[in-house]
Amino acid sequence: MARYGMLIDTKVCIGCYSCLLSCKRQNGLASDQDFIRFEDRERGSYPNTLRESIPLQCMQCEDAPCVSVCPSGASYFGPDGLVSIDHGKCIGCRYCMSACPYQVRTFDEEKGIADKCRFCAIQTLSGGKGCSCVEACLTNARIVGDLDDPTSELSRAIAQKNALPIAGDLTQAKIFYVR
C-alpha cells in the first residue's frame, strides 16, 4: 500500500492558476466550483517583503475531520488512504465543509452534494496521461508520489527542501509546502 502525498513549492509558484484551470477541465467542474483555492498575500516587513501564492486543496489528512463528521459515510478513506467522497451517499448537509479547516471542499449546486480534489494526479505515477495540477504546473512546483518510499522523488524533495504541512500537525496532512 502506498501512502500518497504531494509537495507544493510556493517559492517557485508564480500564481498563474494553471493548476486550478487544468483541474477544472480534468474534472469537468462548473465555473463556480474549484477544487484548488489560492491564498495570495504579502509576507514580511519592508524592505524584506515577498509576494506569496499558496495553492490549497484537499490535504489528504490522515486525521480527516471531514471523514469523522460525515453522518452518512459519504466521506471515507478509500484505497491507499485517499480521502474520497462517495457521491451516491452524500446528503448535501455540508457538515464536512464546516469541519474542513482548509476550506477546500466545494458544493456542487447541480447535484446538491459536497465535492473536492480527487487526487487524480497520482495517475501520472503509473504512466497515465491527464490534465492534472502536477502536469499543468509551468514551474514544476508540484511533485506527487509515495511518502512511504524513501527513494521517491517526493520523499527526497521533502527532506531536501524541509517541506512541512501548511498547518503543522493540525490534521496530519499529506500535502507538504515549501515556503
Binding site: E39, R41, I54, L56, P65, V67, S68, V69, C70, P71, S72, G73, A74, G88, K89, C90, I91, G92, C93, R94, Y95, M97, S98, A99, C100, P101, Y102, Q103, K111, G112, I113, I166, A167, L170, Y177, R179
Partner: protein
Amino acid sequence: MSTFEPVWGPVIAGYLFLAGLGAGAFLFAFILELKFPQAVKMRRFAHILTPVAVALGLVLLLADAPGALHNPLRILLLFSNLQSVMTWGVYFLIIFFAVSAFVMIIELKKDYILPRSLNIIGVIAAFCVALYTGVLLGVCKTFPLWNNALLPILFLVSALSAGAAALLLYAALFAPAELKGITGLRKLQYLLPVIELVLLASLLFITFYNSSAGAASVLMLVTGSWSPWFWVGLVFCGLLLHLIVETKPLFFSAGGAASHGALARYTDVGLNALALCGGFLLRLLIVMAAMPLAIAV
C-alpha cells in the same frame, strides 16, 4: 478572509432554534407537571408544541440537505457513522420526537395520565437534543467561535429560555388565569437571560483572545456588520429587556408578580415574543459570524 461565505445560513439557524425550542418546552412542561400541576393549559400547550417544533426543525434540516432531498433513500445512511455528532443528533432527535409525539397523543386524550418513566426518557432526550445542537457546531476546529465548550451550555440555556418564553407567551394570550400561580416559574425564567448574558460574554471574551479568526468573529458581532442585530436584537431585546422589566415586579413588589391588568398581559406578550426572537437571533449570529482560522500563516 473577508470574502468568506458562511457554509450554513438562516435555515440551519432556524433548525437549531426549533430543536432547542422543542427541548426547552418539554423540559418546562416537566417542571410545570412537578411544581405547578394547576397550569394544565400551559402544560398541554408545551406538550403539543414540542413535537411540532421538532418536526418543523427536521423539515428545515432536510430542506437544507439537497442530496437527501433529491434521494430520500440516502436518509437511511444517517445512522452509520457513530463518530459523527450529526449521527448522534439523528438518534437523539428520533428518540425525542417519538417520545414527545407519544406524549402529545396522551395529552390529547381525555384522561391525561403520563407514565413517569416515559417523561424521564423525554427529559433526558430533551437535554441531549439541546446540548447536541451546540456540540454539532463545537467540533468544527475551523471556527474558533464554535470550537469551544461554552457553546453547548449556551445553547442549552437559550433552549430553556425559548421554551419558557413560548409557554408564557401562550399563557398571556390564551390562558391568563394560569399566570397567577406561577411566580416561581417566572423567577426561574428570569434566571435564564442572566446566565445567558454571562455565558455569551465569556464566549466572546475567550474567543476574542483565541486567534485572529476568533477576534474577527467577535468584532463582526460587536462592531461589524452584525452589530445592530447583536446589540439591539439579541442583547437588548432578547436578554436585557426582560431583566429591566421583570426585576421590580418579581423581586421588589409586595405581592410578587401580582398585577394582572391588561398592561401586564401585553408586557408578557411583548417580552416573551422578543425572547423567542432573541433565541433565534442567537443561533443566527453564531452561525453567520463564525470566521475560519487562517491556515497559511
